[in-house]
């Protein structure tokens, strides 16, 4: 709930919805529905009522897409980045570069990133074990 009103396509759709509810209410509903969808994708091995098997790729895709939608809903509306001055969005996006570098540099590119760290940046394991 920000100090600034937000405008855009989503907001104009919300204005036309019945019940005279605000964007926060509909954002909450969307988050709930998408979470249900996310849990359902993992819980069911086949599409309910059919024999169609939900493949691992489909589950993966659903988890990623739902994560993006939920992340956007929380950041844009609940954290009101959409209505606030741009500087807050820029601040929020600032660490993204470092996060991507970390995910790539440690997470994906270097197989020895954890097990083969040089001694000067590893804890004193003997000391830790003896405690």
């Amino acid at each position: 709930m920000g100090e600034h009103e937000t405008t855009g396509i989503i907001e104009s759709i919300v204005e036309r919805l019945p019940g005279n509810k605000d964007i926060y209410f509909w954002n909450f509903i969307v988050l709930m529905v998408f979470t249900l969808f996310e849990v359902g994708a993992v819980f069911f091995e086949t599409v309910p009522g059919t024999e169609i098997r939900i493949s691992r790729f489909a589950v993966w895709t659903i988890l990623v897409v739902v994560g993006i939608v939920k992340g956007y809903g929380i950041a844009a509306y609940f954290m009101h980045l959409k209505g606030d001055p741009r500087i807050y969005t820029r601040t929020a996006l600032f660490p993204v570069l470092f996060v991507l570098l970390m995910l790539w540099g440690i997470g994906l590119s270097n197989p020895e990133a954890i097990t083969e760290l040089p001694s000067w940046c590893t804890p004193d394991w003997d000391y830790a074990t003896s405690r």
Binding site: Y24, A41, V59, M102, G107
Partner: protein, 450 residues
């Protein structure tokens, strides 16, 4: 921040002590009902199931399928007992921590010298810097410096072995005391704050914006980096593990994966044989239906799923608290809700209490779930257990820290109250709370579902 505006009588802090008493009473009642009451019944059932199983093991007339059935019943009885016992203990422990936090903070402020009443002629709307965050951080520094010894000192007190040495507890206890003094002082400065004199940034890039808000965003970004370290580590180890997903994927793609899927296994799979491999068990293998551990069903996934919904609902209740506080022409709802939200001040307080309860439920369910995982053999001693408990535990600590802050918000909402002028206190806390929700949006699918 040195907030001014309302004159606060010291006696108002006494209400914090009363609230602490009420909270600890709720905790003890919950423990008595869940942990001792239902827990002891469940423990008896578990003992009975265990005895039946052990007797059956020695009985040559019992078939293997009957034995498996009894074994499953024993496991179910054990997990059922753990659910109530851990829930009862957790509610009591977090209630005691809440009570200490609120009660000690209230007590420290209630014994302070009474301030003179403001007559509006001494620039009380001006904002001044506060030493409280620095005092708080110094306390955290001492607490963490002494933490390894603190844990060693607690072991014998919790009957976990070792010899008790009081010296082990000194540094962290001093740290905790300084933390409490810093927090109490912070409350004393914030409670009278009615929203006038919020510090505004005077230069780029945040020119014209509230300094507290800008600072909070920078803090949140540093938190993003903290969680990114967990994810990069998880990604690293996860890509090396031969999980069920990786094994099945290798078989279906027909490509051998070193240390996971061999060509002979692929050949067998292509010939229509059922192929099994030596796969690594992740938390999701224990929790989701169809997981490699074979233990997952609706009930094992329920705590994580309920927690996800609880965090989303709590994000919405904090939005409602802020929206109500900021509303100039708020009207009480019609119907049943009118009893819960009769006036603006009560409505804000009750929305905050709802958020507090949902967050507390998150902690209780998380620990219940952890107890089940440990009982099934998924411990912190393995690399997959280590990254799971560290990442989800760090998130849980963030939730718990948020709950402690929320206790103060509830106290302020109950005493001074929030309105359109000072409602930004809820807004800034809400940013942190939404971030915790946002982190869970990534943690839940990564650790629980995938």
């Amino acid at each position: 921040m040195s907030g001014h505006g309302n004159h606060i009588e010291n006696s108002i802090w006494g209400r914090a002590i009363l609230m602490a008493g009420a909270i600890v009473t709720i905790g003890i009642v919950a423990f008595a009902a869940l942990g001792l009451g239902v827990g002891s019944i469940k423990h008896d059932a578990y003992d009975e199931a265990k005895d039946t199983y052990y007797e059956a093991m020695d009985d040559p007339t019992v078939t293997q399928s009957e034995l498996d059935h009894l074994h499953h019943e024993e496991i179910d009885a054990h997990l059922s007992y753990l659910t109530y016992w851990v829930a009862g203990v957790t509610i009591m422990v977090i209630s005691i921590i809440y009570a200490i936090f609120l009660g000690v903070g209230g007590f420290i402020n209630s014994i302070q010298p009474q301030e003179e009443e403001s007559h509006g002629d001494d620039h009380h709307d001006e904002h001044h810097g506060s030493a409280s965050p620095i005092i708080f951080c110094f306390g955290v520094l001492l607490f963490l410096m002494g933490f390894p010894e603190f844990v060693e000192g607690l072991r014998p007190l919790l009957s976990q072995g070792g010899t008790f040495e009081a010296g082990n507890l000194v540094l962290s206890t001093i740290g905790l005391t300084i933390i409490m003094i810093g927090i109490a002082n912070w409350w004393r400065e914030d409670l009278p704050f009615i929203g006038h004199g919020e510090q505004i940034a005077t230069s780029a890039p945040f020119e014209g914006e509230h300094i507290r808000k800008a600072g909070l965003w920078v803090f949140i970004m540093s938190e993003v980096m903290v969680f990114a370290t967990f994810f990069s580590s998880y990604l690293r180890v996860r890509t090396e593990w031969c999980t069920k997903w990786a094994f099945d994927n290798g078989l279906e793609n027909g490509k051998p994966v070193e240390g996971c899927v061999s060509q002979s296994q692929i050949d067998l799979f292509n010939a229509g044989e059922h192929v099994t491999g030596d796969v690594v068990m992740t938390a999701s293998d224990y929790l989701r239906p169809g997981g490699a551990a074979g233990t997952g069903d609706f009930w094992t996934m329920l705590p994580g799923a309920v927690n996800t919904f609880a965090l989303i609902i709590s994000s919405y209740t904090i939005v409602l608290a802020l929206k109500t506080a900021k509303a100039k022409d708020w009207e009480a709802p019609k119907g049943v809700l009118r009893h819960l939200l009769p006036d603006k001040k009560t409505a804000v307080r009750n929305y905050l209490i709802a958020t507090l309860l949902l967050g507390s439920m998150f902690i209780v369910l998380k620990l219940v779930e952890w107890s089940h995982l440990v009982a099934e053999g998924f411990t912190v001693g393995t690399s997959q257990g280590s990254i799971f408990y560290v990442a989800t535990g760090a998130h849980g600590m963030h939730v718990f820290a948020g709950l402690l802050i929320m206790l103060y918000l509830v106290f302020k909402a109950d005493t001074i109250g929030y309105d359109e002028d000072n409602g930004q206190g809820i807004e800034y806390f809400g940013l942190y709370w939404h971030f915790v929700d946002l982190a869970w949006v990534v943690i839940f699918p990564a650790f629980y579902l995938y």
